[in-house]
Symmetry: C2
């Protein structure tokens, strides 16, 4: 694997060369998606049917024929091999347990003047979950996107997934049943995102759209943002491992592979102060890579974006990690608790050598929908809070309103908003 030294003069530029530009900087994708959205807005269901025919080779007369019944979802679950059904159920249970901890309560307080101020939380009414078709169609994604919505109390969870040629992935259907998806339609692409954002005859308009997708889907989500909520703008997945040599080098190699196998654009980095250990990890990478089913993808990803980085010490590794704000951060060190205070931004932090990313990807409980491309600087993991909205509550009493009105009047006059000032002043009553 590529080796970098965190102290060399060209380190920053060498690291920057491993970054990828954000997907939707592509003007062609942008205009194609804009056209599709405009077409769905203008023509509705006939346009959706046409795109589905063209992109998914599905020729139906009405979108309602592409709705998957709740019975079909349940049947897929019951027909799953026992081992898979048990694993999926266990994962769903653990994901639900974690996300229930994210529920919070309404609150209010009296300001001492007789006014009550507070905040109220209510679930979104209807959300759309996008599930990719084809090679990146993952039942675990269905669980991770739909369960927080259900825990939040969303009344209607609508899932869309393209089914090119009509093939319906039974694991995805089973996961939908387990996660509590209310309705599912076999449509996909930018056209499905547009249908969810705008509503069509068969597909109701939603309040928010979540879930991963290709760059057309990602760009469509970006373009409908504001009309509906979206989860985040996702780029290629990344792992950054800070290692002190506590783990077997083979563990580190396989953890790097588990990121790299997603996609040639995925990024796997390992940071360590110990040159000999880096050598050992590199040797393990070369030894294990030929055995991997997805070795071509892994090799391409590691060549393009991977690196083993020698740092001055562990604190230096933490500083580099903070600048990158990785999606997944493994602290593969003997004392992860001591290292944690040095960590600022990361989507998910895997503490210690037994906490490999794969456990978090599937079943530990926390969400695997995480901010990518450095956006952990400002985005958070998908959570129950993404499926709730807050309202401020302002309840002034007749007496309590008076001192507030005096302050508001002065400030409104300072801003030349005299109707504001008079509206406040009217509440100054004896």
């Amino acid at each position: 694997m590529r080796r970098l030294n965190g102290d060399s003069a060209d380190f920053e530029s060498a690291l920057a060369a491993l970054e990828v530009p954000m997907d939707s900087d592509d003007g062609d994708v942008r205009s194609t998606v804009a056209d599709i959205i405009a077409d769905i807005e203008r023509r509705g269901e006939p346009a959706l049917l046409e795109y589905t025919r063209r992109f998914d080779q599905l020729d139906v007369d009405a979108i309602c024929e592409l709705e998957v019944s709740r019975e079909e979802l349940e049947r897929a679950l019951s027909e799953l091999p026992g081992e898979q059904r048990d694993a999926l159920s266990e994962a769903a249970k653990r994901i639900e347990t974690f996300h229930r901890k994210q529920l919070s309560d309404d609150w209010s307080y009296d300001d001492g003047l007789g006014n009550r101020l507070g905040q109220r939380l209510t679930p979104l009414r209807r959300v759309g979950v996008y599930v990719p078709g084809g090679k990146a169609s993952y039942p675990s994604s269905v669980l991770m996107n739909a369960i927080p919505a259900r825990v939040a109390g969303v009344s209607e969870i609508i899932m869309v997934a393209p089914t090119p040629g009509g093939y319906r992935n039974p694991l995805v259907l089973a996961a939908a049943a387990l996660a509590g998806v209310h309705r599912m339609f076999c449509v996909g692409g930018a056209q499905a995102v547009a249908a969810l954002a705008l509503g069509t005859t068969a597909i109701p308009r939603v309040d928010k759209i979540v879930g991963p997708g290709n760059r057309f889907v990602a760009e469509a989500k970006r373009q409908v943002f504001g009309r509906v909520g979206i989860d985040m703008i996702a780029g290629p997945s990344e792992i950054l491992i800070i290692a002190d040599g506590s783990a077997a080098p083979e563990w580190m190699a396989m953890d790097l592979f588990s990121q790299a196998e997603h996609d040639e654009s995925a990024q796997a980095l390992l940071l360590c102060p110990d040159a000999a250990y880096i050598e050992a990890v590199d040797a393990a990478v070369e030894r294990l890579l030929p055995q991997m089913e997805r070795s071509a993808i892994i090799r391409a990803s590691l060549d393009k974006r991977g690196a083993l980085i020698q740092t001055r010490d562990i604190a230096h590794a933490a500083a580099i990690s903070n600048a990158l704000a990785p999606e997944h951060l493994e602290l593969a060190v003997a004392d992860p608790e001591a290292l944690l205070p040095l960590i600022d931004a990361a989507g998910a932090i895997f503490m210690g050598i037994h906490s490999c990313e794969a456990l978090g990807d599937y079943c530990a409980g926390p969400n695997h929908v995480l901010p990518t491309s450095g956006s952990a600087r400002f985005f958070s993991p998908l959570g129950v809070y993404d499926f709730q909205k807050r309202s401020s509550i302002i309840h002034c009493s007749a007496q309590g309103a008076v001192p507030l009105a005096r302050v508001a009047q002065v400030l409104a006059e300072g801003e030349s908003l005299t109707a504001h000032a008079r509206s406040a002043a009217m509440r100054i009553v004896d």
Copy 2:
């Protein structure tokens, strides 16, 4: 004012005719802004200087000359007339008190297998606060945008505000001092948003940009979203009042004006089941309107987008309000607590006749940055949570990892991600 009846056959279309399209559906604005952002990205500070010269008539050699020192901010505060300084301080204090209630703690739990799972909150490191110049330059906005960032613990709050011709609004500077702004630059427009998102020689790159602005600023925020966080896509401001006749009609008229005076595109609606009371409010509107300083704007707004709507009953009014998801909702009724459970989506809810919007706009405590154009369906008021990021924590013990690894292995194999499966399986140790 325009009268509508909530039961008439054409009600929905009449109400829809009062909506405005989202700002950035304008292709010219979109491409102008894209060009400005690309130019700042390519040329950095020289481009920023050029735009500032062109749009703000400020001819300086370097952007650092446009930085306002902390001393100048403090001086503006101390030189303010006593009444204004006291009012601004009182507002700042109340806003801080409210937002402190939004702070929440890290949490974690043991899953019973020896694994610890949790969530960690950390402040964003650096945020940008955009403050408009000219007629919409409001010190209250400075408080509402910067105080939650300070409460969250953001290390560096960078404020930008255009100062056309070099005029620095002392109220805005004073508010910046009070709110705890760390650095301020006199730049504005899409170019200032781009500078904050990308960083230039003088202006450091931020993690998130908040604050209101014209449609170029709003579109710039939309375009940089993903590279940095943004607060929300804001449209024209709105009020919806549900009234049962408990308040003097003049109060209702003035509350409608206080929204309408913002802008010709602002919207003011009153819903009430009582025809006679609607008549009385309308008469009060006609009687008071000629006295208002901003009567031309108010008249234009009411003509274009305002309405008095007769409903079957209060529950019917609540249903219409829920469909609109208003930014500001006044429950001007005798028993607002009884009505609240019927309310779903609204940015801020003003309970009872003494709780007029103006009190919330300035000093009640809750934020006045609220979701507009129906986006209260999925957006929340600006809050401390907007200036924090969450990280998931996954800490598996050697024994605790084993059952998780078994589940992950089955699911990863089901998704043909065999490196994931092997990475998990390696943690199955005795």
